[in-house]
């Protein structure tokens, strides 16, 4: 077995900082799809197995039915639970897309959570106050969230492009600024003292459900799922079929060559972060423009933004992969919800997901093993990629 990238490898571009993570993402993203997908699945399986072992230790008697619940919980109540799976999955799909998109331009958007927070607040603010918009209310609220996220993302992009501030550093700081601003603005502008949380958006601002509640009766699903599907397809097309996508990827792969080719690297960086932020902002809007969910003035970073990083990894930074990974995440969440039927804490799901995240981050290693194994078995195809690292 050999680990070509164990050696020292001169890199043609980039600039210090979060290179390791970027490198990992990059490697995962540009392996042949089959091997990459295989290793993602391996990460998932490993995560599930570890979860199962933990369940066996905690409560051997219920481990098997409990585990099956995690796996198939999303089917347990038929269309209702399927609907909820989609409901849980949508925000994660969107934050995953956000991280993945920036990544394709060579940027590591660790600030999805801040962008999501800004989007959520703006959407809720509009949802609470702008009832006069009538039928357009929810649309404007979502767009407001999108714009707020985009602005937040663009700050990191501008800093990177014009001041060479690494986006990881600036977006981590922006995450905290967003978190505290959110608390402050809720209390100042849309506070519900009685419950110590933000006021509820008006029903006209709720994300509509159209016919979905007929198909998935009793579930919380809304048309956020259509938005997620639409954006997945849109990003797929942008990245793979358009001139803009060609530019973004050139800048992501080799900034010097992009400059040589006359591409405006600064513009592309700003645009990429803006779009990435917009996606996270939409996620924030969709999460909170529903009945029964409230923004709270708590100083906590919203986890969805970070989960998005894992989902981007698991989905190999490709929009369609990210969509599938995000929905899978929704299924696990849904399974975890039913886990309470047994003597398990739903937190077991968090553990499983955490393990999957670790494994997907380790998928680099897994891929190396898989690649080596396949090479010995098949002696082919893998080589092309192995060679890329060391040529």
């Amino acid at each position: 077995m050999k680990f070509p990238w164990g050696g020292k490898r001169a890199r043609g571009n980039g600039d210090g900082g979060g290179r390791i993570v970027q490198g990992a993402l990059q490697k995962v993203a540009h392996r042949p799809a089959s091997i990459s997908a295989f290793s993602s699945i391996l990460a998932i399986v490993s995560g599930l197995l570890v979860g199962f072992v933990i369940m066996l230790i905690v409560n051997p008697g219920d481990a098997v039915p409990g585990f099956l619940t995690i796996l198939f919980g999303w089917l347990s109540e038929g269309s209702r639970s399927v609907g909820d799976m989609l409901y849980f999955g949508v925000p994660i799909v969107l934050t995953g897309l956000s991280v993945a998109f920036a990544f394709r331009t060579g940027l590591f958007n660790i600030g999805a959570t801040g962008q999501l927070t800004m989007g959520a607040f703006t959407a809720v603010y509009i949802g609470v106050n702008w009832g006069f918009l009538g039928a357009f209310h929810w649309i404007v609220a979502v767009l407001g969230g999108m714009i707020a996220g985009a602005v937040w993302g663009s700050i990191a992009g501008l800093l990177k492009a014009f001041r060479n501030v690494h986006e990881v550093v600036s977006s981590i700081m922006l995450n905290y600024i967003a978190m505290y601003m959110n608390t402050m603005l809720i209390v100042q502008l849309i506070y519900n003292r009685q419950y110590a949380r933000a006021r509820s958006p008006l029903p006209s601002a709720h994300i509509p459900t159209w016919f979905l509640r007929d198909i998935f009766p009793g579930s919380s699903v809304n048309i956020g799922i259509f938005i997620a599907i639409g954006l997945t397809i849109l990003l797929h097309i942008i990245l793979n079929r358009t001139v803009f996508g060609y530019e973004l990827k050139s800048v992501g792969f080799n900034r010097d060559a992009a400059k040589y080719a006359g591409m405006n690297a600064k513009r592309n960086i700003v645009l990429s972060m803006t779009i990435s932020g917009a996606l996270a902002g939409i996620a924030g809007a969709i999460m909170f423009l529903v009945a029964g969910r409230h923004l709270e003035p708590v100083n906590q970073l919203m986890q969805e933004g970070f989960t998005g990083i894992a989902i981007a990894l698991l989905g190999l930074s490709a929009p369609i992969g990210v969509f599938m990974a995000g929905i899978f995440y929704g299924a696990l969440e849904q399974g975890g919800y039913y886990l309470q039927l047994y003597d398990f804490m739903p937190e077991i799901i968090d553990i499983i997901i955490a393990v999957i995240i670790y494994f997907s981050a380790f998928s680099l290693f897994i891929q190396t093993y898989v690649a080596g194994y396949l090479r010995r078995k098949l002696g082919a195809e893998v080589e092309l990629q192995q060679g890329t690292e060391i040529k």
Binding site: K2, G7, A10, T242, Y246, K259, Q386, G387, T388, K391
Partner: protein, 508 residues
Amino acid sequence: MEYVIEMENITKEFPGIKANDQVDLKLKKGEIHALLGENGAGKSTLMSVLFGLYTPDSGTIKVQGKQVFIRNPNDANNLGIGMVHQHFKLVHNFSVTENIILGHEDTTKGFLRYDNAVAKIKNLSEQYKLKVDPSAIIENISVGQQQRVEILKMLYRDADILIFDEPTASLTPQEIDELMKILRNLAEEGKSIILITHKLTEIQQVADRCTILRKGKYIDTVEVAGTSNEELAEKMVGRKVVFDIEKAPAKPGDTVLKVEDLCVRSQHSNTELVRDVSFEAKRGEILCVAGIEGNGQSELIYGLVGLAPLSKGRILLHGSDVTQSSTRNRSLAGISHIPEDRQRHGLVLDFSLEYNLILNSYFEKTYQRQGFLDFKAIRTHAEALIRQYDIRSSHGPLSLARSMSGGNQQKAILGREIDRGSELLIAVQPTRGLDVGAIEFIHKQIIAERDRGKAVLLVSLELDEVMGLSDRILVMYGGELVGEFDPETVTENELGLYMSGARKRGVA
């Protein structure tokens, strides 16, 4: 044991191509053994097998008569095998010293100790005349200096079997002479050397024997003494190769590029790397900027194409001022640019070949419709260039640029840039890393461009190329133009004096 390395029946297949097909290579102790072959013949692959970067599909390797399995570069290091790669493997924000000791650090109680290392490096660089500034950061030094760091790295590890993959591709003639001496010294001290090079004269100068590959297959191993360049070239290409550059006299027309008092400042310090350079390039003429590496030629070109800001001066293209224009607008105004560093600027290694072939034109109407890439047009374009420029790779238009051999990467860039048919073709080291057949072809293309009435600005470190290809020569030294010459009347010696700064005179 007579042989230190015996590679037998090595076969290595990549999807779509057999890079090595039953290849033999036997290295004697203390000899310099040249490895010759066309671009993509499988030389680098064979050496990567020896260095543990690839596992061969079949075949055996013996070191000092004992069969070994070299699984990774560490195994190779332990067997005393060192390698300088075709494309350097340096950490480019580390210093020279850090790069050299990387992986072989001296430590006391876990703390890095530089003193011994620094002393050893100093000794080595004096002993072998490999001048580098040990504290310089890699990305700030020239390609030529990076090469020296690579060589030092290997010497630092006390390797006995030294593999050089095209070590002279980026050296100046003087440096090459020095390297040749070094190689001979090393061999006399008992080190065994494998030298990959496309330059037959170098083989004649230093090599004892030469193994020739063609399209992945072993052709022959010959004693160099008693084999002529022509024979070597014929064995390698499979046909006769014309070495002399044939061209009609130039018919210079009107001025395409006019440069006035151009200055480019270093981005790291406050010195001017290009100082008050003025010249004109005319249609129908190949104008060459000659000089020793690191005398401002690279920066001059970066300034011309907009990759480095000018601190002073004007650039006129067809009389219109492009000094303030972006790289893109200069390119559209009629500049094609074959860059010096193919992997840094010339290619997106993770793109396919066909994507790379539109790197400078992807936005043009031909390749897009309303912002959507026109895949059919891209493919047609790629297939045409692949055919015309004989770009060899494993998957045709879909080959990842990264997987292509160095010479074929270069051919891809050449094809792309020449094909654009710009009024001004800037070619920096256009034939670096090409085999003799490909060089012949590229020279013909460049001359054809000239004869089509294009202006060609050639930057070359190779005196043969400078003398053979250009119609007018400008010599650059220390950031300034120090002389203008007619290649018909000037001697190589005279040029050398100007290039080394021993003489200078004004340039009209």
